[in-house]
Structure formats: structure tokens, C-alpha cells
């Protein structure tokens, strides 16, 4: 069957008898959780969209420490949140198989950075598997569970966008249900990491890594592919880069040996030594950081081997952005000094083409909120933004983001901004992100009396990643019974004294409330609540919406609806502004935006 890499991971986990699976959604990892959410009930496993990656990981640790198999999946930056738990879990080790999937995003297709999470395997002393294809995603998930139980260690399964979001043929096996319950056997000298325990456990971890290195040496996941007749030049690679190497070598008509590392940490040292001994020059091809390259150079130095090692250090391969077969081919030509013919591409000047970046949808409540905020502040405010659809407000006409680093950072950075600036500071955070990482920042702001306005843009869902539920949602996935947590109660519980709830579609009230909030001393909070327009559209299929149109006689061509507001349904072509009937979501925000009352509801 044709499976997405992420779906293949979900399938592999089911076949491995996983009992507990958790996640916090994030591209490019989201479909692992989404696939498991759909089948959890039928498969009899426990699945949850946890509040954040840290909680997801801790929950899975609780289950795996008891002895059942647990899977936790997240995007690369999610592991920054979960790292605290994972680093020490490597010390205690696990009883049931514990697999943490991190989906990295070279080229930042949908992320704020392109960090290389293989470093977490090195940092924590955690075995690392790196699939290259959907088939390997499936197989290595099963292997990862077995390896985790054999070593009693957590295992990281690391994909990238071009592994997680590739659909390809996968041959699957039988789903074998595993135990869903195990009684936790108390062993505080192992599981309670007070300093005396931690010191002892670190030595055990180091011993296990020695054992893991031997397993890596003998692993079928690490193997040599001979291309043509092989030769004295070789390539060592892993993950998505392996795919590009195979196609590039074919394009170049190379005769070479490719050592593919599927189990890449700890390094299979003997295998590497043998490869370096039998090849005169070896190119190390990996995306992002030169992790294999540096370790392989260390192995060569340690063993006194003469093979020339080529890679990023000599500038043959870039250290930023994802590869493709053309980049790898050009790197191999450089590294080995090949006379290969790289097909020249035609360069075309497309500078004048209208760009089409992602935008807030028609009917998006965030659009109305940003319009109101700009009106209330006359654009004289500093905006601390956060991670979600609303980050798209950074673009004109709203320019509603001035500082953004990570999930929850709007709240923390707003305090610092307010302390050293005289302008008003407004923090924007989505509902899902607020639960994920916004609450400690809010408590800090209340406790220290920081003065800023926090706007919680509550669209009732985790929209950007595919509308997964969050703790404030009214409904969970089909597999779960949930209790909805009230944002108002949380905000009040944090000690906030000034809290208002507005409907962003009511632009006047929202504008007035923002003005009022900015006169407060200390932290003020506005919850701008309106369900994501895409969900409304999906749920109201066929319903009559209040479509709007522009009365061309009343229109004064002031362009407010396209210069200060932005809606994909409104266009201005040849100086005429119109609303596209099929995309109009019927929210009515534009009618309030128009200073001449030229936008009207269709009868």
C-alpha cells in the first residue's frame, strides 16, 4: 500500500504492539498522531494529543517505565521542550520499548529554525535510527522498539520533511497487540534520579552505549550498496541524503560503494574502520550539521587511517538547507574531482511575477483582530508574536509581529520588551500555544507586575497543523473522552485582574477593548474568541452564508479593504475592488472595515 512516511511510522508502532502513543502536533510530524488518533479506539491503544511535547514525553515515560511500549512524536523544536525529560530518562532507562520520533525540517518549510536533532542523540547518549523511505519508517519503528527493550534505553527515530512527507509503497505485516497494562515495580535506586542515583546511572548508560555500538556494527540497518563495480572511492550517508546519493551516483554514472547508516548513533565504529580501510577517499554526505563527518574524522584519526575524508569541512557540501540529487551530484563532483557533466539549468527572470505567500484565510478571525489592534494603537506598539497561523500577521498590511522565537515566547518576551521600552507592548498567542507554553510566562508577568497586553487569539483549535484539539477544545479526537479547560479560569487562576472576552468579528468592540486594556497598570488579557473559519466552512457545508459584495456606486476607491485589511476573497484589479462570491466566508468584517459603508450583505 502507499503510505506517507508518518503513516508508516504509525503502522510500525501498531505492529510493534504499542500501548500508549502521545504527541503535540507540529509539521512535519503531525500525521503520526493524526493516524493513530483515527485508529486508537479500534486498535485498543491509548492515544492523546498532549498539552505540549514535555508532557507527552513524560506521559510516555510513565507508561514505558512500567513496562508497556510507548511512542511519542513531535517536530524537531518540540524536542527542545521535551529534552529535560528525555536527557534524564536515558539515565534511568526504560522497561517497555520507548521510541521518540523527532521530525526535523531542513529548509524550514514550516518551522522557525532547521536545527539538527541528531545532536540530541549525542547529547543524551541515546541510540538513533534514521529511516530514508516510508518502508524504512515502518521497519525502523518496529526495530526501534526491539532495540529499546534490548538496551533498556529510549531510542530516537529521526526523520526529516522529505522522509515524513513522502508517500511510497510499503509492505506491511500483521498487527500484533501488545500488553496494554503493566504493574510498575518500584525501584527507586534506578528511577528516582537524586544525585547518588544519577551518578551511578550515568555509568550504566555509558556501558549500554558500548553495547549499543556493537549492535550498530552488526545491524542490518547499516549496509553497503555497491553501485556499478564499486571502487576505491566511497560514500557514507544517512537519512534523506542517502536517496539523493543513490540518484546522483546514477546521474553521474559513478562506480562506488555507499555505506548507508540507518543506526547511526552510537557510530558503528568497526564498520566505519573497515570502510575507511578499503577506500582511498570517502565523501560523507549528510544534510545540515557535519555530525557523521566529524565523528568519522575522529575515528580515522584514532585508528591512524589514511583515507581522505571529504565533506562540509572542504566546502563540497553545504551546511544549510535540504539537499536534492542535483546538489549532491555537484558536491560529489567537487569532492572527488569528477569530470561529471552537471546539466545546466536555464535561469529565468521571474522577478516581476506576483508572489503568492501563505496568507490568513477568508473569514479568518485573526484578520479582524489585527485590523482592530492596528486601529486601536495607530500602529504605535511593539508586537510580541508566537507560533501559529496568526504569525502570518507579520506580513503587510498588519505588520503585527515584531519578535518571535518559539512556542510561548510572546508572553515572556513581552515582559522584557515592556521593561525597556516606552511604547505599549502587545503579545499575541493562540489558544493551543497558550496551553502549551504561555501559562508560566503569564504567571511571571502577574507576579512581577509586568505591563503589557496579552491577546489570546482563541480559534478553538490547533489550526496550522490540521485542526487537532487542545485542552480548551469542546471535543477531543474520536478515541478520547476529554474535559474542556476554560482559558478564562486559567487566566484568572494565574492572578490576572483585568480580563475581557471579545468577538473579533465585532471590530468596534475589539478596538475599544484594546484601547481600554492599554491604559491598565500591570498585565491585561483579552481573549479574542471566534472559531477557525475553515472549521466553520467544513461543518456548515451547503449552509447559506451571509455573503458580502461591494456596491460599486457607493465605493469611493479608498482601498481601505485591501490596504489596511486583507482577505483572500477581496481583490483590487484595475482599480476596481470586488469580493469573490465563492471564497467569501460571510464573516462581515470587511463591511465594518469600509469607511463608506460600500460593502453590503447579499440578500
Amino acid at each position: 500500500m502507499l503510505l506517507l512516511g508518518n503513516e508508516a511510522i504509525a503502522r510500525g508502532a501498531l505492529e510493534a504492539g504499542v500501548a500508549v502513543a502521545t504527541t503535540y502536533p507540529g509539521t512535519p510530524a503531525s500525521e503520526i498522531g493524526d493516524a493513530l488518533a483515527r485508529v486508537a479506539k479500534d486498535a485498543g491503544i491509548y492515544f492523546e494529543y498532549s498539552t505540549n511535547e514535555m508532557v507527552a514525553t513524560e506521559f510516555a515515560i510513565g507508561a514505558a517505565a512500567s513496562g508497556v511500549r510507548a511512542l511519542v512524536s513531535m517536530k524537531h523544536v518540540g524536542l527542545n521542550v521535551a529534552a529535560d525529560a528525555l536527557m534524564t530518562f536515558a539515565y534511568t532507562g526504560t522497561r517497555g520499548g520507548f521510541v521518540l520520533v523527532t521530525a526535523d525540517d531542513p529548509s524550514c518549510h514550516s518551522s522557525q529554525n532547521e536545527q539538527d536533532n541528531r545532536y540530541y542523540a549525542l547529547l543524551g547518549g541515546i541510540p538513533l535510527l534514521e529511516p530514508s523511505s516510508p518502508q524504512e519508517c515502518y521497519q525502523m519503528t518496529k526495530d526501534a522498539f526491539a532495540l529499546s527493550e534490548k538496551l533498556e534505553l529510549p531510542v530516537i527515530l529521526r526523520t526529516t520533511t522529505r522522509v515524513s512527507h513522502v508517500r511510497g509503497p510499503v509492505v506491511v505485516g500483521e498487527i500484533v497487540p501488545g500488553p496494554k497494562k503493566k504493574e510498575f515495580v518500584k525501584d527507586p535506586k534506578r528511577f528516582v534520579t537524586v544525585p547518588a542515583v544519577a551518578r551511578a546511572r550515568h555509568l550504566i548508560l555509558l556501558e549500554r552505549l558500548q553495547e549499543a555500538s556493537k549492535l550498530a556494527d552488526g545491524s542490518a540497518l547499516n549496509r553497503v550498496y555497491r553501485i556499478g563495480a564499486g571502487g576505491r572511492s566511497g560514500i557514507i550517508t544517512s537519512s534523506a541524503a542517502f536517496n539523493y546519493v543513490m540518484d546522483a551516483a546514477k546521474m553521474l554514472g559513478m562506480s562506488t560503494d555507499v555505506l548507508k547508516l540507518g543506526f547511526s548513533h552510537p557510530l558503528p565504529t568497526h564498520l566505519i574502520v573497515e570502510f575507511l580501510k578499503t577506500h582511498d577517499s570517502v565523501a560523507v554526505v549528510e544534510e545540515l550539521e557535519p555530525i557523521l563527518e566529524t565523528s568519522i574524522r575522529a575515528v580515522a584519526q584514532h585508528e591512524g587511517l589514511k583515507a581522505k575524508i571529504l565533506g562540509k569541512a572542504d566546502g563540497a557540501f553545504p551546511q544549510a538547507y535540504e539537499f536534492d540529487q542535483a546538489i549532491v551530484a555537484s558536491g560529489l563532483v567537487k569532492a572527488f574531482g569528477l569530470k561529471g557533466e552537471i546539466a545546466k539549468t536555464v535561469s529565468v527572470d521571474l522577478q516581476d511575477l506576483p508572489v503568492r505567500p501563505p496568507v490568513l484565510c477568508a473569514g479568518c478571525p485573526h484578520s479582524a483582530t489585527y485590523f482592530a489592534v492596528n486601529k486601536a494603537t495607530n500602529r504605535k506598539a511593539i508586537f510580541a508574536s508566537d507560533i501559529g497561523c496568526y504569525t502570518l500577521g507579520v506580513a503587510p498590511p498588519y505588520n503585527a509581529a515584531d519578535l518571535l522565537v518559539c512556542m510561548g515566547s510572546s508572553v515572556g518576551t513581552a515582559g522584557g520588551l515592556a521593561k525597556v521600552n516606552d511604547q505599549p507592548v502587545i503579545a499575541f498567542i493562540g489558544d493551543s500555544t497558550f496551553f502549551h507554553a504561555g501559562i508560566p510566562g503569564l504567571i511571571n508577568a502577574v507576579h512581577h507586575g509586568h505591563k503589557f497586553l496579552l491577546m489570546i487569539l482563541d480559534n478553538r483549535t490547533t489550526a496550522m497543523t490540521g485542526h487537532q484539539p487542545h485542552p480548551g477544545s469542546d471535543k477531543g479526537p474520536s478515541c478520547c473522552d476529554i474535559t474542556s479547560v476554560s482559558i478564562e479560569e486559567v487566566v484568572k487562576g494565574c492572578g490576572v485582574k483585568w480580563l475581557k472576552v471579545v468577538d473579533p468579528y465585532d471590530i468596534k468592540t475589539t478596538t475599544d477593548t484594546v484601547k481600554q486594556a492599554l491604559t491598565q497598570n500591570g498585565v491585561s488579557v483579552i481573549i479574542a474568541r471566534r472559531e477557525c473559519a475553515l472549521i466553520v466552512k467544513r461543518d456548515q457545508k451547503g449552509a447559506i452564508l451571509k455573503k458580502h459584495y461591494i456596491d460599486q456606486e457607493a465605493c469611493k476607491k479608498c482601498r481601505t479593504c485591501v490596504d489596511k485589511f486583507q482577505c483572500p476573497a477581496i481583490s483590487s484589479i484595475d482599480k476596481v475592488q470586488t469580493i469573490d462570491d465563492t471564497s467569501c466566508a460571510g464573516c462581515g468584517a470587511c463591511a465594518q472595515v469600509c469607511p463608506h459603508k460600500a460593502i453590503k450583505e447579499a440578500r
Binding site: 518549510h109 523511505s133 540529487q325 529565468v348 521571474l350 511575477l353 506576483p354 501563505p358 481583490s571
Partner: protein, 197 residues
């Protein structure tokens, strides 16, 4: 081996189209890899999928290496012309989705003649499909994407049989199967019976 570069705007059913191509390849007993765009880029932005049929490892198609560019929107066909070469057939829907930058930055949406002329400089052939109209005629106005799959099949460049595509459509479309098969046929015929200039 056939490399198909699919492009359009988020929400046009491009992922569904690429999956049908993938299923057709599997039914024909061939290897296939598809890459998909998810996440932030989907919000009304330019969306790209690739379908590589044959013994390949990489899911990506570097510049100049597409056999077919299948564009669901006219401007997007021009935007990805770097994927084409003298060996490439560019098949584009005549559908225009005006990007917001045309309104807000006063940029100009190119005319059909401009698009045709620029693509003709680089590609072997430019084929225009009235996808939306053909879908409407088939009774499924929302199935422009199925018309485009038909158009791809009609080029004959995938080396897959019509019946494999039809079976794949039956597998992945839940409603109006007959009408969708008609939409596929209309796209197929529009390309396979085109007059070559």
C-alpha cells in the same frame, strides 16, 4: 522513469491528484514516490507535489528535470518553469487565482500570451486545459483536479495505462465516481487529441 511536477494553490486538490497518480503507478506494478506539502504553506500559498514513477530513491525533482509540469493554475505554471527543459511538456489549467499581491502590491497578473510565450522559450510544449469547464461538463464542477490527472494521462508520458488511472480514481474518490471518471476522460481526450503546433 517519469518525473511529474505538480503545482498550484493550496486547496486545489493537488495532494489528491498526486495520490491518484501514485495509486495508478502501484496498480501498474511500478515503483513510485510522491512528496507533499503540508503545514504553513497550505494557507493559500503556492503548493508543490512531486510524483516520480520508476526506480528512483529521491522524491524531489531538481531544476530542469521534470518530464511533465502539471499546473492547476496558470500563474503557477510560469512560476515553476525552472523545473522544465526542452524535454518537458507543461500542461496547465487555464484557471486564474489572483494572488493578494496583485491587489496589495499592485503587481500584474501575466496574460495568457505572456505565460505561453515565456514557457515556450524553455519547454518542449505548452498545453492549456480548460479544467474547470470540463469538470463542469462532466457534472462535477469541483473536480478540476481529476481533469488534470486525465490531462497528465493523455500526454502518454507516464507510461501508465488509462485503466490504471481509472481504477485509482475509483479507489480514492468516494462520491460521484461515474462523473469523476467522465472528468478524467475529458482531460485525457483534451490532451491526447490536441493539435500540435
Amino acid at each position: 522513469m517519469t518525473d511529474v511536477y505538480l503545482v498550484g494553490v493550496g486547496g486545489q486538490g493537488i495532494i489528491t491528484a498526486s495520490r491518484i497518480i501514485g495509486d495508478a503507478a502501484i496498480l501498474a506494478g511500478k515503483n513510485v514516490l510522491l512528496s507533499e506539502t503540508h503545514g504553513m504553506a497550505q494557507r493559500g500559498g503556492s503548493v508543490v507535489c512531486t510524483a516520480r514513477i520508476g526506480e528512483v530513491y529521491s522524491p524531489l525533482i531538481p531544476d530542469g528535470q521534470a518530464d511533465v509540469v502539471l499546473s492547476f493554475e496558470l500563474l503557477e505554471a510560469l512560476r515553476v518553469v525552472c523545473k522544465a527543459s526542452k524535454n518537458t511538456v507543461v500542461v496547465s489549467s487555464n484557471e486564474r487565482m489572483i494572488p493578494l499581491s496583485v491587489s496589495s502590491q499592485k503587481l500584474k497578473y501575466p496574460t495568457l500570451d505572456e505565460v505561453r510565450r515565456e514557457i515556450a522559450k524553455i519547454a518542449r510544449e505548452f498545453v492549456l486545459i480548460e479544467a474547470s469547464k470540463l469538470a463542469g461538463e462532466a457534472g462535477v464542477p469541483m473536480s478540476s483536479n481529476i481533469v488534470m490527472v486525465g490531462a497528465l494521462a493523455g500526454t502518454g508520458l507516464t507510461n501508465l495505462d488509462k485503466k490504471h488511472f481509472e481504477k485509482a480514481i475509483e479507489m480514492s474518490i468516494a462520491r460521484n465516481v461515474k462523473e469523476n471518471l467522465a472528468a478524467f476522460s475529458k482531460g485525457f481526450d483534451a490532451v491526447s487529441t490536441r493539435s500540435r503546433t
